[in-house]
């Protein structure tokens, strides 16, 4: 079998064609983000008669950052056909421990940030080991550990309190402009690298078909543990950003992240059956979800209805995704 150099390469469609068909949900998540942002800016300009100022920019980005990190962590779990409900507990535990210990010195801030990340990794390690070696359902394991981690957080900080030094905010959530986008860029870089590692390949392969992945020589269990550790670390990073903007600790403040991180994954076009989608979509989804609150404010809707509107937004997005999916498969 001589490999022929002159073999004409068969392509059923162009590279971009393949990308647009295979990544239609990802493209849609960006369309949704663009649409939401457009409506928000439109309402803002109509109300305020000027364009967004750096204040609005930093406000949106800093509010979005915790969810962005949590959503990317959740994405990686969902890509392996799992789900992680413990995200709220991991974030609460990180937040309360850091808020109870951090001082205004650089050394303390760096050290406690790193400790925070280690806490997330450790919590993820417990999840991962139970799921991979205990052969338990991710939803059951993380439901249980959610309670455990939240319980520990309440033990650390029974009432909202603690203190995060104001200096920390300067680094993590610069108030003079949307500089937090640098962290988003960093996160995307991490994702980009992850996708190009054997670990990244393993994550997708496991989500596609665990048995086939194993038959192809992928070490499924270590990869799964790695997934939850990675995810836990990202949740903690999200919790650090949250701490920096709220300047305190609160064990009960993180429950909403369970649902919103999953919602961001859905908006990002990641399949709940695993193996399909990109965390880049979840980043877009997290921003779109975050924009709903200021958008409703500009539209003069009572803040009490925010949750309901976020839900409605989600349903609309999913319906839209279904329609686009059908259109694409009809064209393909």
């Amino acid at each position: 079998m001589p490999p022929s150099e002159t073999q004409p390469r068969f392509r059923s469609r162009s590279r971009w064609g393949h990308f647009s068909v295979q990544q239609a949900p990802l493209l849609l998540s960006f369309a949704i983000l663009a649409g939401t942002f457009g409506v928000y800016v439109g309402l803002f300009v109509a109300n305020q008669h000027h364009f967004l100022t750096p204040f609005e920019g930093q406000s949106i980005v800093n509010t979005a950052l915790p969810l962005v990190f949590a959503a990317v962590g959740q994405s990686i779990v969902v890509l392996t056909r799992g789900i992680d409900l413990s995200v709220g507990g991991v974030m609460a535990l990180t937040n309360t421990i850091v808020a109870s210990n951090m001082h205004a010195s650089t050394g303390s801030m760096v050290a406690w940030s790193l400790i925070g990340l280690v806490i997330g990794a450790g919590a993820g390690l417990v999840n991962g080991c139970l799921i991979a070696f205990g052969r338990l359902q991710p939803i059951l394991v993380t439901l249980a550990t959610l309670s455990i981690y939240t319980g520990l957080a309440i033990k650390v900080l029974p009432e909202p309190g603690g203190a995060i030094p104001v200096e920390y905010t300067k680094y993590m959530a610069n108030v003079n402009g949307p500089w937090g986008l640098i962290y988003v860029a960093g996160l995307l870089l991490v994702w980009f690298v992850f996708r190009r590692t054997p670990f990244g390949v393993a994550v997708y392969a496991i989500g596609n078909d665990q048995a086939a992945a194993r038959a192809s020589g992928i070490k499924v269990r270590p990869a799964k543990v790695g997934v939850y550790v990675f995810a836990g670390t990202l949740y903690s990073a999200g919790a650090l950003f949250f701490s920096a903007t709220t300047l305190g600790g609160d064990a009960t403040a993180f429950d909403p992240f369970i649902l919103t991180s999953i919602a961001a994954v859905v908006l990002g076009g990641i399949s709940f059956f695993g193996g399909r989608g990109s965390a880049v979509g979840a980043v877009a989804g997290a921003f779109a979800l975050t924009l709903v609150t200021p958008l409703l404010f500009q539209a003069n809707v009572n803040q009490l209805y925010t949750d309901a509107f976020q839900g409605l937004f989600l349903v609309l997005a999913v319906v839209l995704a279904g329609l686009v999916g059908r259109l694409v498969s009809a064209r393909a």
């Binding site: 490999p3 596609n208 020589g217 009809a330």
Partner: protein
Amino acid sequence: MTERPVQTILDGTEPRTSRAIEASGVSKHFGGVQALRSASFSADFGEVHALVGENGAGKSTMIKILSAVLAPDEGTVRVKGDEVSLASPLEARRLGVGTVFQELTLLPWMTVAENLLLGNEPLSRTRLIRRRQLPARADEILAGYGVEGIDPLELVASLPLAQRQTIEIVRTLLRDPEILFLDEPTSALGEREVEWLFGLVRDLRERGRCIIFTSHRWGEVVNIADRITVFRNGEFVTTREHMDEAEAVTLMTGRTIERMYPELPRPAQDAEVALDVRDLRGARVDGVSFQVRRGEILGVGGLAGQGQRDLFMTLFAARRPSGGEISVGGKRVRLRNPHDAIDARLGIALVPEDRKSEGLMLPLSVRDNLSLVVLSRVSAGGIVRRLLENRMVWRMVERLQIRTRRVAVQEVGTLSGGNQQKVLIGRWLLAEPDIMLLYDITRGVDVGTKHDIYQLMVDLIREGKALLFYSSDTEEMAHVCHRVLIMREGRIAGELAGDEIDAERLVAAALKEHAAV
């Protein structure tokens, strides 16, 4: 590819080729089912060895044990002369064993390139995968194996089965195994792909490799095997160099089958037109017109993947047509979904080929699978009347000779492939359709069951049913159809009828029409 010379052959001290792999006294049971009973098997380097037997004879189990996917209950396995106890497929692979399993192990939502290069991706100096290089590398690999017409950027899930099987084979060959198992590699392949595969297999044999394959198509076995081993009911029967088909069938089934294909009764001259299709259009169906009369078997032939499947799906209303007319029993009908098609007044049933993904619910019982479509007929007020249901189910089990003792508890997944297929056919027979669309229903089915199915088809046309038939086995197509339409790119490109139908003409017609494009 790295060349690993097989020493024992090359140094010439060995008069014959040497033993590659050997199993002796191997037993394996699953629950109460004894899949292998102290079975033995051996194959040598430099030979193509066919392992034949009915579904459930233990061929796949033996292959899985020799590839270390399953551990034997007892018995020993020797690879290249050394007794081994293989703990994982990975370990078997290190010893030079490569296996193409019946169930594909591709990752559906990853691209062809990602699948081919899984675990062997091109890396940059920073040890990161160079994703942009994947398609070009995959192109090289595919071209190296003479595979054309597969886009490495395509998702595996969107490829037709034959191409998926091709990728699976290439992926296994890439590791350059010394001992290659191919478990029913051809059941998903078309004529040309089978030729391609056999070309590769002959090449491997010349290079001193050991190839073991299973197939239910006797023509293929005779074509390529140097030796044939027969298994029956989990036991080794014999290994021989020569065997004729009748002898093989007797050894495999334990019964003598006079003639494989039945005598087809001709449809009555004035038989009513059961199904009249005019200018049907839809996805990959392009202006198809034909009629089938009661008592007639109409074949839909042509090369694999020319829209036959799409035509069947459209007729069953699993796909929506974009134009054209369908008349059933002389009356024009509009089908919106399969439920309409099954409806007693129209009575169109589709028996699909992929019994695992499109038909049976493997964890459910034989009874639940059989009665699924007709539950409403044995229900009163939304409650299933078990007594009626059981009676109906048992009648079908007896009629089709489905080998099961406890219809209400035995999971369909534990039946052998042939019996699973019978359950699927039985389900649709219970719906008492007038028109049955039989899509490759004998694929991966053993010779005894095939014989039963042909006999059943004859019974059905005697009852006045009209059958539309597609098979990936051209020989079979030639023997069980009154007429055969040749499909090409969604169109009817020709028709053969009566005595002019034989396998060679069918292939010639399919190829000729293809070449004319």
